[in-house]
Structures are given as structure tokens and as C-alpha cells.
């Protein structure tokens, strides 16, 4: 899945130039921008981000305050600091504040891209596992006294969460609007998960007081209770579940799931689909195509197959946001397009 990087700088020209220059790395990460710390805080609330790159001197909420905000509420998101007024003291403060890196201006796009990619790789430096039981795996973390940040994705891909371990002790958990023990109960109730292990933990505050075994038992009890309720009270349950963020877990999955259903139904296997996700970095292309459509009175883009000469090709399906289906270039392209075309009729 393509990761999102938020770049925060009050210099609009700099932002445009960085976004443009980093578009070459769109296969690895997409870029969203904010003009100050307050706008950045809004973006953090609105979308899932994998990294924040911020300037220090900004109006409204400066870089240090933004860094403190991220460490408090989004400790799983690494922060890189960029600044034109670099002093050893500032660098020390940034690192003590939790920043993982410090880049002095001027720098090249390639320098920044390299730092971004290196930092993003650390998200899974300790390994990635699929279809594992979260309860069993996390007991191992405790036994091995690991210090790590674990990102979990429930098997349907609809829910995700983060767990923070220090020396084998579970400090905190996050999923949707939940934090601490409530989030841990939720995460441990997921049957099968995929997870990434990052061998560091920026979380300082200990929000979970109970030990892991007690949390696991309570999670199982709540899960059983919920199952019993489901059996006795018919009706939709999905909306009640807390999503990680409103955009991706409530509105998002339905459109993505519908598309996956259509493709799975049509192809059973061999569709060549590798991943499906929202990615706003394609909005520029969609807008350009819509302009072309307007010129020829051909209407707006409904679906598009794009080959950029990379190891994957992409199918774009614009909805409220752009849904991207990454596919193997040897996929049955015409058939997939035909299926999408039939969908649009």
C-alpha cells in the first residue's frame, strides 16, 4: 500500500516544488501538504499518515509544537524536521522532542526522498507477518521483552491499530477513536491480523495499567459478549464499530469492498489485483483527464488503466476519492476494464 507523507511548511512555493519533485517517487509514497502546524493537525485527524516532514518556523503552530502534538497523540508517526535556521541547539531539541531526523536547508529533492524512504522502511524493519493471531504473537513480544511499535491490520483490511511495547510491557494501544485499554480490547478481539514490527517505540506515556494476560482475557470476554449480542439482535453492526479514521474505515471500505466483490466474483482468481486503496496523489491526473473529457464532451473519467513503466500497473476508479487498484502488468486488462465498464452502465 502506498504510504502518505505530510509535508508542512509555510512557504507555498517550497511546498509546491517539493510535492512536484517528490511525485517521481509516487510508487513508494504520496505527498500531502499543510501550510502550518494547525493545518497539519487537521490532516493528522483526517487521514492515515506514515510520516510527517515539517519546517520549524511557522505561524499558528510551529514545528516544535507540532512535534510535541504528534508525540502525544500519534507517537507511531515519525517526524523529520527541515529548517533553514539550523543550529546544534535546535537539532538537539528536535531530537529530544522525538524527531527521527533533521535536515538543514538547502537540500535536494533526492536527499529528502532518500531520508523519507529510509524512514518509511523502518515501519517494518522488524518484519511483516500475515494471518497471525494477535493474542499469541503479542504474548511473544512480552516474553521476549521487546521494545517496538506494532501496526496491525485486521484481515478484512477495514480496521487497523497500533500497539506500543517497551521492554515487553504494553504501554498503549490505538484504534479508531480509542486509546489505551479500550483500544487494546478491540485490537485483541480481531481473529487474524497482518502486522508490521518497528524496532523502536516513541510512546512515552503508559496508558495501559493492566498486564497483557488480563487485557487478553478481558478482550476475549468482550468478544464473546459481542458475539452473543449479535446472535440475539439482528441488524447491521458495522457502523457501530469504531474505525481508525472516518475516511478510511466507514465511508471508504464500502466502495473498495464493492469493487473487490465485483472483481472477485468475475475472476475468482487470476485477476492480477495486488492491492486496492485510496490515493489522492492521482487526483492531478484525474483532473487532467476530466479536462480532456470536457474538451471532447466525453464526460468525466469513470475508470482508467495506467502503465507508468513500473513493476505494477494501476487502475484508477474515481469516487469521492480516487480508488487505486494496483495490478500485475500481465493481468487480463481488457477484461477488467470491461467489467468496470459494465459496472458504470
Amino acid at each position: 500500500m502506498i504510504k502518505r507523507v505530510l509535508i508542512v511548511d509555510d512557504d507555498m512555493e517550497m511546498l509546491v516544488s517539493l510535492k512536484d519533485g517528490l511525485s517521481r517517487y509516487a510508487e513508494t509514497f504520496s505527498v500531502v501538504t499543510a501550510l502550518d502546524g494547525l493545518m497539519a493537525a487537521e490532516e493528522l485527524k483526517r487521514i492515515n499518515l506514515s510520516l510527517v516532514v515539517t519546517d520549524l518556523k511557522m505561524p499558528n503552530l510551529d514545528g516544535f509544537s507540532l512535534l510535541a502534538h504528534i508525540m502525544e497523540y500519534y507517537a507511531e508517526i515519525p517526524v523529520l524536521i527541515i529548517t533553514g535556521y539550523s543550529t546544534p541547539e535546535m537539532e538537539r531539541m528536535a531530537r529530544e522532542g522525538g524527531a527521527v531526523g533533521y535536515i538543514a536547508k538547502p537540500f535536494t529533492i533526492e536527499d529528502l526522498a532518500r531520508r523519507i524512504v529510509t524512514t518509511l522502511r523502518k515501519e517494518a524493519e522488524g518484519g511483516t507477518l500475515h494471518s497471525v493471531s494477535s493474542a499469541i504473537f503479542l504474548q511473544l513480544m512480552e516474553m521476549e521483552e521487546r521494545t517496538c511499535t506494532i501496526r496491525l491490520f485486521e484481515k478484512t483490511g477495514r480496521r487497523r491499530g497500533v500497539l506500543f511495547f517497551r521492554d515487553g510491557e504494553l504501554l498503549d494501544a490505538k484504534t479508531g477513536g480509542l486509546r489505551g485499554e479500550a483500544a487494546a480490547y478491540e485490537v485483541f478481539s480481531w481473529d487474524e491480523v497482518s502486522l508490521n514490527i518497528q524496532n523502536s517505540c516513541q510512546q512515552k506515556t503508559k496508558r495501559i495499567k493492566r498486564d497483557l494476560q488480563a487485557i487478553l482475557l478481558e478482550a476475549m470476554r468482550l468478544k464473546d459478549e459481542r458475539r452473543q449480542q449479535d446472535e440475539t439482535v439482528p441488524g447491521p453492526k458495522e457502523e457501530e464499530e469504531s474505525g481508525l479514521d472516518l475516511v478510511e474505515t466507514q465511508e471508504g471500505p464500502s466502495a473498495i469492498e464493492q469493487l473487490m466483490d465485483v472483481i472477485n466474483k468475475e475472476f475468482k482468481q487470476g485477476s492480477g489485483v495486488e492491492d486496492i486503496y485510496y490515493d489522492d496523489s492521482w487526483e492531478g491526473l484525474v483532473s487532467g483527464i476530466n479536462t480532456l473529457g470536457a474538451v471532447f464532451e466525453g464526460g468525466e473519467l469513470r475508470a482508467g488503466y495506467v502503465d507508468r513503466g513500473e513493476s505494477k500497473d494501476f487502475i484508477l476508479v474515481p469516487r469521492e476519492k480516487v480508488i487505486v487498484i494496483s495490478v500485475n502488468p500481465r493481468c487480463p486488462r481488457d477484461r477488467i476494464m470491461e467489467v468496470l465498464r459494465a459496472q458504470e452502465r
Binding site: S23, I289, G293, V295, F296, G298, G304, V306, M337, E344
Partner: protein
């Protein structure tokens, strides 16, 4: 000039062919259907081509037309198709045309190969 694209233009339900430089200048355009905004075309292309950044090939399904885009070394070939056109045949024809487009060296420029069509 037009000869190169005759085969595509003659296919069933092909509405038009455009060749734009990578800066968005019109090198060639020919339509089989009336284009109401013909006079606005050239102004729009710069921004449109800018958005193509990184595309090597694209097969696009719009509400009323289908658009096939193919990048050569120095240009974008754009084919506008109706719903009865065969995208596979268009792709095949573009495969055949592409070497000629790629052969247009920077020094000579595409303009010397194609006469601009207004």
C-alpha cells in the same frame, strides 16, 4: 503526416487522433466527428499534458468516450474512441506507429515530420 494515422482514423468508431508534444503543443490533430470546442483545444493541452507526468500508456473510460494515450520519446499520442471501437486494435496500431514517433530525434523535431493541422 496524416498517412501515419490513417489506419487508426479508419477504424470503426474512432472519433479523433491527437499528437501532442511533451510540452502540450499540438503537432497533429484530426477528428472524424465535429468537436465543438475545437478552438479551445490548444489552450487546454499544456495543463492536460502536464498531468500525464509519468504515464507510458493509459486506457481511459470516460462517461461518453474511451481515450487511449501512448507516450513516445517526445510526444503523446491520444486516440478518442466511441464505445464500439476496439481498444485492442487501437493499441496494436499504436505499437506499429510508435517506432516512427520515437525515431523523431530531438534535433529534427517532430514538427518536421508532421505538418501542423489546424
Amino acid at each position: 503526416m496524416k498517412d501515419l494515422f490513417n489506419e487508426i482514423l479508419a477504424m470503426e468508431d474512432i472519433q479523433g487522433v491527437l499528437l501532442l508534444s511533451s510540452e502540450g503543443e499540438t503537432i497533429f490533430k484530426e477528428f472524424n466527428v465535429p468537436v465543438r470546442k475545437n478552438n479551445e483545444l490548444d489552450e487546454s493541452f499544456h495543463e492536460i499534458v502536464k498531468s500525464f507526468n509519468g504515464i507510458r500508456e493509459a486506457d481511459l473510460l470516460l462517461e461518453k468516450v474511451r481515450v487511449y494515450i501512448r507516450k513516445s520519446n517526445m510526444s503523446y499520442l491520444i486516440v478518442i474512441m466511441g464505445s464500439f471501437a476496439s481498444a485492442a486494435m487501437v493499441r496494436l496500431s499504436c505499437d506499429m506507429i510508435l517506432p516512427s514517433l520515437n525515431d523523431a530525434k530531438a534535433g529534427k523535431g517532430l514538427r518536421q515530420i508532421f505538418k501542423r493541422s489546424r
